[in-house]
Symmetry: C2
Subunit: 676 residues, 2 copies
């Protein structure tokens, strides 16, 4: 057995198992329990997804603009678009109360593995064991929760079931908006600069937690570093990484590399060209297709980044070595289930390759890309599924999911007929070239060209009428059949094939993989125990790294950008969107110190969900605010890399400079820097 | 035997076999021989590709701005960019002499089929027969040509060898630029409006032919219609369609529909996203990638249009019926070669499907998309091919092709290192995901990620130095081997595989298809003779059709656009490129009659090469100027359609209105309209 399971500054560490020794050895800094408790208690989880931190004794919370975006949107009115134009509460009385937002602070971590496992008795079937575990977990949660006191205990599953920890949170529910800059400056550079570096974004937003209508008194909050960080400095990131797949086997990574990512990229490229060329035809098209276009561009970059990593032979070699180390251990210990599990996964991945196109075109409806088809299929399937007992339905029609299904089915979001025709015509073309001359293609096209047929379907269906949807949903199968709606009939035409391929996927891919993964996870836990970190699960983690640039295509990319660079980049693009500056930033240019650092990168191990995490120095002071990763960091989903992968942050100095000189937000800047 | 070989207003007719009867029957208009001679002698072929017409007795020639673009570019200086800013010769003395441009007028057509075939004697081998035919053709050409008198005779092969016609041209070589508008207005709407309709382009350009330093006196020229055309009117188009593939068998069309077009579109989408996202990063990127981006966008639209037609079951049903009609004739006449030919082609197309990816990735170098790789491979292959006898070399290295090979190899066109890395990294990614885990992929990547490896190759090669290329090309194999250049070594690494798949394509696809197509063409000629029209061959043809709109996605598209629409479209896009108007057009808006028709569509059967063709009414007067087809017209490559396919023209009224009111070009307008 050789080699460490982690490499360099790798790791999204549990607070209960921080890598103290490694830090001491490499950085000469050993965080004390007090330091760890303080940082943990200063860290905040947004129930809307995302991270944050307390940054004043008066309950001030720092996060990203894009984490707060939903709330900015909800608080906006026709007259005041806070998402676009920003918001600044001049006094505490002006702070705006959000709805639905809840912030959680992790008070206590308890290892309850033994308790949970004790519920499983000899001789129980897999199903009984699972039920027994769930019951034990429910009891622990219930015992540790107190709605009155806003205390909640969650039992989190770590190491794919190797450990269970009870996390006890304090919940804050009165959250008020304090400050947000304009979206233009928060997301300066838009898609072209998304996932890129150098970067010039002020992606920040401040809220305040209240208790009993007063700003909450907070004992543990992070002090501000006005000096910021320096190149080469050790920094920490405390936040809630959402999900990683670092335990994927080689066969799984190969599937992603060879099939899934290339197929997704081909589809994303196809749609990006379709949407952007249509958007360029006129202003109204552009407005209608904007969200779809941003979605595909964002995904395209994410997939490109991930694929780039998977195609790096050096990273794959590390994965191979790690898999070999684990397999050697399994062989040595004679763990039969785990030994077989690798083959089970490989076989499942082969099946997945064989059915991928069918799953995508039929069940994932890539051949019928349109909101109208999506609605039509839900109406059809709901009419068939709802009469069954909940447990026997397709899972998204189960009783527990019905409220959100209805929410989405009855949403009155606008659906544009011309955009629907565009999308459906292109995807019918995709379908027809994927299954040329097939009976299904002939039946779908019904003797027409994809373009003509798409128009016929979209203009002929009534599913864009919310009232029609409600009626069919409530009246059920007979009404759905009687409607004779062309889009519903299209959904019906392909539904047997869609269900068949889905079933094959669930029974021959998903389920065997789930079981095999559990066996491998158990073996891995036997090998490394808690000496390493578990895959991300949107629970609080501590990462660390160095503020340092990187080399890309022969060019050295410096770790820091400055405010002056923001103006240069805007001028380079003639101040045209998405490189246009808010007027306020143009007016105040003269008063800014253009040397002030604005963004910086470090090697900390982060992933989606870490947005809004504070970047902290050894003294526990805020030196930055995580808001993105560069494109090379997207491989962190599978494997840590510190050669080019970087976390991207707003600099503490840039934040304060902007608050004072651009926004005249001196009270807020004083509160952050402890000057009030 | 049933059914006509042509449908509706189909046909790119030979002047020697105009469909007089059909015209008489359907339109009550029978063109006289005099009418046909006059229009033919007024028609002009540009040797640079494209069509034109005489429009005054003083040798004035009308064509498209995009046909004249090369000459506008060549005549431009640092101070005067005529391509971009336009040109207007105030007096004849100001008209600017072009270089290299030659215009041809078709004087005489003679059927020499018997003469050519008489050269083939009983008992000759296929090679001997071909040589004998070539010799006879050379003799006819020589006898009919007189360099002094600028008379040239070409023998053109029609009906794939069913007929040979001797075309005698008068050549004009002193061609001077008279007028061109700004490129902005000639190509208003850029890529978004390319191949679309409604349209608002003034895509026109005027030259004048000179003889003995004086404007040539021209007997046959087209008079101008100030009244223009009306909806429902019969119009004619006289021009030089470049190439059509209407004799393709169903198997060939299915290959295009199922394999080639989808693969090309996937590649074009991939590159369009790559180039446009890189271009959006900054102004310099945008400049560097502009030509590549326009190229892929233009091709993407062309392929989409073609694929849309191939996926139309109605069009394919017509193709099936036509093939059945021919096969019935073949069976009836017992034509064994032709009967076998359909299977031969079907088999060849199956082989082509099997090797398409290999041909694309290796021989077409889609896996190594960069100018540097292209140069490196030419250097490598030249060093291997040139020592062989010319006839045994890869065809592009034959003696006859060497001058153009060297021209292109030693061109000092700028090659941008960063753009090269971008393109190569993406195409190496494409290669690696196409052949995952293959030995070739491993060898190509040499342990690096595609991005790192692309940088290493591009920064390490010397092939961007023209001196280096000349040296290696002249010194030959030993020097190429000794150079140890990384890009040349990459070309060497994959060359055996590239040559192998190319050979398979040439021997198992190309050659059997050529022979089979000849047998089918012979049978078809036996069936229809000259009662129909031959595939386009860049020889003069007459098409006709109706000025009429069409219906698209439930909307009726009107046949005419007006000048007012141009201003509306520009305003809709806030006058931003490519919808910005030249200043002159903004200044003169008030003096224009905004109701003046600017562009219109008709059902005439055209294809690339028809650009610049005059659109003529029954009186032989110019009512328009062909400059594009709509996206549905792109299927005309394979099959005529008049449901949605339309030719797009500039209106004669819009041209004169612009000349007078925007450009103060009254002399030119008077010359066109016969008012001087």
């Amino acid at each position: 057995m050789s080699g460490s399971p982690v490499q360099g500054d790798e790791g999204m560490w549990l607070y209960s198992a921080a890598p103290k020794e490694y830090l001491k050895k490499k950085y000469g800094f050993e965080p004390t329990d007090e330091w760890l408790d303080h940082v943990r208690l200063s860290s905040v989880r947004f129930n809307s997804g995302g991270s944050g931190s307390f940054v004043s004794a008066d309950g001030l919370v720092m996060t990203n603009h894009h984490v707060g975006a939903d709330d900015l949107q909800k608080l906006s009115t026709k007259e005041n678009d806070y998402l676009k134009n920003g918001f600044h509460a001049k006094t505490r009385a002006d702070e705006k109360k959000t709805t639905g937002l809840e912030l959680n602070v992790l008070q206590k971590i308890e290892d309850v593995t033994a308790k949970v496992n004790a519920a499983v008795k000899e001789g129980m079937s897999a199903g009984e064991a699972s039920d027994a575990r769930r019951k034990a977990i429910d009891e622990i949660s219930k015992a540790g929760s107190d709605v009155e006191k806003k205390v909640r205990t969650d039992v989190v599953t770590l190491f794919a079931g190797g450990a269970y920890h009870a996390y006890t949170f304090k919940a804050y529910t009165d959250i008020r908006l304090v400050f947000a800059p304009e979206q233009q400056i928060a997301f300066f550079g838009g898609d072209p600069d998304n996932f890129e570096y150098p970067r010039y974004d002020l992606d920040m937003c401040f809220f305040r937690v209240y208790e009993k209508d007063q700003p909450a008194k907070i004992k543990h909050y992070l002090k501000w570093s006005e000096a910021g960080s320096k190149e080469g400095e050790l920094v920490f990131v405390s936040g809630h990484p959402g999900r990683t797949n670092r335990q994927n086997t080689l066969a799984e990574l190969q599937y992603l590399r060879d099939v899934q990512y290339p197929a997704q990229l081909a589809l994303l490229n196809r749609r990006e060209v379709l949407y952007s060329s249509w958007g360029e035809r006129n202003e109204e098209n552009r407005r209608r297709v904007k969200d779809d276009l941003f979605g595909v561009q964002n995904s395209r970059k994410a997939r490109m980044g991930g694929l780039g990593g998977l195609l790096d032979p050096k990273l794959m070699a590390r994965k191979e070595a790690a898999e070999k180390r684990l397999k050697d251990f399994i062989a040595e210990k004679g763990l039969k289930d785990a030994a077989k599990a690798f083959d089970t996964i490989a076989t499942a991945e082969q099946t997945r390759r064989a059915i991928a196109t069918g799953v995508n075109m039929f069940e994932n409806a890539q051949g019928f890309n349109s909101a109208s088809f999506g609605i039509a299929r839900v109406l059809l399937r709901a009419s068939e599924e709802l009469p069954k007992p909940s447990g026997e339905r397709l899972r998204e029609y189960g009783d527990a999911r019905l409220p959100s299904l209805k929410d989405s089915l009855f949403s009155d979001e606008p659906i544009y007929e011309d955009l629907e025709v565009l999308k459906l015509a292109d995807s019918l073309t995709h379908f027809a070239t994927t299954y040329p001359d097939s009976e299904t293609t002939k039946a779908i096209l019904a003797g027409k060209s994809p373009r003509e047929r798409a128009y016929e379907l979209v203009s002929g269906t009534k599913v864009r009428d919310v009232g029609f949807r409600k009626k069919l949903f409530e009246e059920g199968r007979a009404a759905v059949n009687a409607a004779n709606d062309p889009m519903i009939e299209l959904a019906r035409l392909i539904d047997a094939q869609a269900r068949k391929v889905r079933k094959k996927f669930e029974t021959e891919v998903e389920e065997p993989k789930r079981q095999a993964a559990a066996a491998i996870a158990k073996a891995r836990f036997g090998l490394d125990g808690t000496s390493t970190y578990p895959d991300a699960t949107f629970t609080l983690r501590l990462s660390f790294g160095t503020v340092i640039g990187y080399s890309e295509a022969g060019k050295q990319v410096a770790p820091f950008t400055q405010m002056g660079g923001l103006y240069e980049r805007s001028a380079e693009h003639k101040n045209q969107p998405p490189f246009d500056l808010p007027k306020r930033w143009e007016d105040r240019k003269g008063s800014l110190d253009l040397q002030t650092p604005l963004n910086f990168v470090c090697t900390a191990d982060i992933i989606g969900g870490n947005s809004g995490s504070p970047v902290i120095n050894k003294a526990g002071e805020v030196v930055g605010l995580i808001f993105d990763g560069n494109i090379q960091s997207l491989v962190l989903d599978f494997i840590y890399d510190d050669e080019q992968a970087r976390a991207v942050s707003v600099d503490s100095r840039g934040m304060v400079e902007a608050l004072r000189k651009v926004y005249d937000a001196h009270d807020l800047a004083n509160e952050l820097t402890g000057k009030k």
